[in-house]
């Protein structure tokens, strides 16, 4: 009896899955503008308040349901959304004019106040928003007490002015980031509740109350009132949350998921053969390297400079990206990323990033002449919950083979544990360091990481020459001059190597044959609005 019951259960399961697949085929006419695209995501870390959404899971949703002053196209260039113009004569005082006719999905018009109030909310100290520091260059910002952004002035419903504390030539470039989205006035009544069922002005909107099923998915449908540059050609998005990329990959294989923007390591070898031209492997705005702290003996001053260069030249980046990553990483030639405007693979001094064992041994010996390294073990710290072990071991092997020193990877059980030693200057060697850009600008790759006293400059790098060039770049009157200064600043970094660049992560995605026109944006997220289904 038990066996027949078992058989019954499996038979009914078969019948169920059979039904589902035939139903799918039946209602799939050619290029359906009402078709829902399913894609992978992860549970947002916080309620969907733009100024508190700085991670990728929530960011992907926030950029779909909100439209800021500008948005980014596939190349990472800005296109006006709500803004009609963003202008300045001196890169310090900016006048923002809004296009007429924009509304939130609750029919409230998008006005200058929608932006100014939202930015003030995001910047206010006691609101403890994770993106508060994005407003720190606006006059009135304060890191320690509640303070109004007095630099923001509403002129009329369609116009406001922004006064920056220090000039920034490419300031409009950052305005497509989630932190700068407008909010409807209904949001301020109960921000936490708003975050559960956000009301936006973007190409998509939530599919009714409770469209966000926690830990499961969020259902978005097209916003009929949206008339910007990201007009969707499909009916909506189902963003399914996965804890494990391998499960998402299997779902694309099994026909349950249309678009995947992160291929799991286990499929690196096979995904391109399996998906052919439905597989994507292109550079992304993610920089990976490792840093040697300046507080360690042997790693400061002239000796440290020689050792950093020696270590850098002893790593065979080409081989590691090929063997460990199957070509899903691109060896680094600077401190930014190939998808950013102003990237260069021929900066002066970039040869320090090429594999050159003879020169490496020579430089290491020169450093030993200043102060002998002795038998100290060289190590690189990493968090073992992030899949870093394979490449750390490969880098260590490369160093050991070239320099013949004793070296090892130093795993920390969690990211939190690794971060603690990093923030407390308690490292015994190098540390893994990665950076994904918030907005497509050279400045965003440089200032937060290497400027004296910057938030992510844990290893205490400080260079007057670099800080000066960064300032000159920021205050340059046009973007070309700014780029030139940022490149010069990077040449200082190539001298000092506060971080030893390794490679840029690629975005690796696949899509099922149910969808077409899958193009990945500069931020490794597909441009969902362009995808067609059926």
């Amino acid at each position: 009896m038990g066996l027949s019951a078992l058989a019954l259960v499996s038979v009914s399961a078969l019948a169920l899955s059979g039904c589902a697949s035939s139903a799918d085929e039946a209602d799939a006419p050619a290029a359906d503008t009402a078709a829902i695209i399913s894609t992978n995501g992860s549970e947002p870390q916080n309620p969907l308040i733009p100024t508190n959404t700085t991670e990728t899971g929530g960011g992907k949703i926030a950029t779909s349901i909100f439209a800021g002053l500008v948005s980014y196209n596939a190349a990472g260039e800005i296109e006006n959304e709500v803004a009609e113009s963003i202008e300045s004569d001196d890169a310090t005082t900016w006048t923002v004019t809004l296009e007429e006719g924009w509304t939130f999905t609750n029919d409230e018009p998008v006005t200058a106040d929608s932006f100014v109030d939202a930015w003030n909310y995001g910047a206010l100290f006691s609101n403890a928003q994770s993106a508060s520091y994005f407003f720190d260059n606006i006059v009135g910002f304060d890191y320690e007490v509640d303070s109004e952004l007095t630099g923001l002035t509403v002129v009329d419903d369609q116009t406001f002015t922004v006064e920056l504390a220090s000039p920034e030539a490419d300031w409009p470039l950052r305005l497509g980031y989630t932190a700068y989205m407008p909010l409807p006035s209904a949001a301020y009544d109960d921000m936490a509740a708003f975050g559960e069922n956000p009301i936006g002005n973007g190409p998509y909107m939530l599919d009714g109350e409770g469209a966000w099923v926690h830990e499961d998915k969020i259902s978005l449908v097209t916003n009929p009132g949206y008339d910007g540059v990201r007009k969707p050609v499909n009916g909506g998005l189902d963003i399914i949350f996965y804890n494990d990329q391998a499960a998402a990959y299997a779902d694309v294989q099994g026909g349950n998921l249309d678009v995947l923007d992160a291929v799991p390591d286990s499929a690196f070898e096979t995904y391109e053969a399996e998906f052919g031209d439905r597989a994507v492997n292109q550079a992304a705005a993610i920089f990976q390297g490792f840093n040697m702290p300046y507080y360690l003996e042997h790693w400061s001053g002239e000796e440290g400079e020689l050792r950093r260069a020696a270590i850098s030249m002893s790593i065979n980046r080409e081989e590691i990206t090929d063997v460990i990553f199957q070509g899903t990483r691109t060896p680094a030639t600077d401190f930014t990323s190939p998808v950013i405007d102003g990237y260069s693979d021929s900066l002066e001094g970039a040869d320090v990033l090429e594999y050159n064992p003879e020169e490496a041994v020579k430089l290491w010996a020169e450093a030993d002449a200043i102060a002998p390294y002795g038998d100290t073990t060289f190590d690189i710290a990493y968090n073992s919950d992030g899949g870093h072990q394979a490449w750390v071991d490969a880098v260590i092997n490369s160093i050991v083979n070239t320099l013949d020193i004793s070296a090892t990877g130093k795993p920390y059980p969690t990211f939190a544990a690794a971060l603690e030693d990093r923030s407390n200057d308690a490292l015994t060697g190098g540390t893994r360091a990665g950076w994904q850009a918030d907005y497509p600008s050279l400045y965003n790759f440089l200032a937060p990481l290497y400027q004296t006293g910057a938030g992510s400059n844990y290893e205490d790098y400080s260079s007057e020459a670099f800080d000066g060039l960064l300032r000159e770049g920021a205050t340059a009157s046009n973007v070309e001059d700014a780029t030139a200064k940022y490149q010069e600043a990077q040449e200082v970094l190539l001298q000092d190597l506060p971080s030893i660049p390794l490679w840029y992560s690629n975005v690796n995605g696949v899509s099922a044959d149910t969808v077409d026109n899958v193009v990945f944006g500069w931020d490794s997220v597909p441009l969902y609005y362009q995808i067609t289904k059926g």
Partner: protein, 309 residues
């Protein structure tokens, strides 16, 4: 019997406090600042981290944190996760799915395991018995994640018989495949337990007597042999229910099921004590109740077992 049950239930109180205290302490002792780690490689303004730490009482000493938690617990407030969701909501999402998965697995493993074990025990040394032993050995030695991947690839991707992962509402049909994976190892143990116990009992005096007094073979096997052979199997099932409820992390991950195992694992890596401790507290209760149930079932199966005052 009542007295016994009552005493066992009272025992849950110290177990509950001991377990929650220890777990809370262990999560507290995890290295690193869980709030700073939430923001990954892009730290927010220092003031933001401080305020969020204070919001979750993480700026207070351990013992204060624990008693604040326990105090709220008895007022029905299990606290919130670091994303601001009430832990009770998270539980309401995770436990029902895992419970249904565990029930399905328990059903598969017990029915199939006992049937196969019984046949193998009755035909000790024959071909069926030998193959059952080999298959069970195989299932015990293959790690769950291997079996999970193979099943998902074969039955999900290649044959398309099952959905590759379980969708949000987790309908029973989609849970079959993960339940089979989850049941496999325990199935093997149950086959072996039942087989050994049936083979033993076949030679027991009471079976010879039953046969001698002219009872039919089916009656001897079902009433006398099987019933007596089930005592060790039931013990195993009781313990297994507990581990199925809590230990399905691997299977849940492979099939993208939003269940207890995965939730607790994620909470541990985040250092989210409220979630971890609340889940563990419920698990402790499940374990204790399952074991109590098993102990009471003994008496029903074997009248010689009685619980004295």
């Amino acid at each position: 019997m009542l007295w016994y049950t009552g005493r066992r239930i009272l025992q849950m109180i110290p177990v509950f406090f001991g377990a929650t205290f220890l777990i809370y302490f262990m999560v507290f002792s995890l290295p690193g600042d869980p709030i700073a780690a939430l923001y990954g490689d892009r730290p927010p303004a220092p003031g933001v981290i401080e305020q969020v730490r204070a919001q979750y009482n993480l700026d207070k000493p351990f013992i204060v944190q624990y008693f604040l938690y326990i105090g709220n617990f008895f007022q029905g407030d299990l606290g919130t996760t670091y994303s601001g969701r009430p832990v009770s909501d998270v539980m309401a999402g995770a436990f029902p799915v895992t419970f249904r998965l565990a029930m399905l697995a328990l059903f598969f493993e017990s029915v199939a395991g006992i049937v196969v074990g019984l046949i193998a025990g009755l035909r000790k040394g024959k071909l069926f018995d030998a193959s059952a032993l080999v298959v069970s050995l195989l299932l015990i030695s293959v790690p769950t994640f291997v079996l999970g991947f193979v099943f998902r690839l074969t039955f999900g991707v290649q044959l398309g018989w099952f959905r590759t992962t379980v969708s949000g509402e987790a309908p029973w049909g989609e849970l079959v495949l993960p339940a089979l994976v989850l049941a496999s190892v325990s199935f093997a143990y149950i086959v072996r337990l039942t087989r050994a116990s049936v083979a033993d009992n076949l030679n027991a005096d009471f079976v010879r007597t039953a046969t001698a007094k002219g009872l039919s073979r089916p009656r001897v096997v079902t009433v006398h042999v099987l019933r007596n052979s089930l005592v060790p199997v039931i013990t195993f099932l009781g313990v297994d229910l507990g581990s199925l409820m809590v230990g399905a992390i691997v299977t849940e991950g492979i099939f993208n099921i939003n269940g207890v195992g995965g939730t607790v694992f994620k909470a541990i890596t985040l250092g989210e004590s409220t979630t971890v401790v609340s889940f563990i507290a419920v698990m402790v209760v499940i374990f204790v109740v399952a074991n109590l149930f098993v102990d009471l079932l003994y008496a029903a199966l074997d009248p010689r077992i009685r619980y004295a005052k």
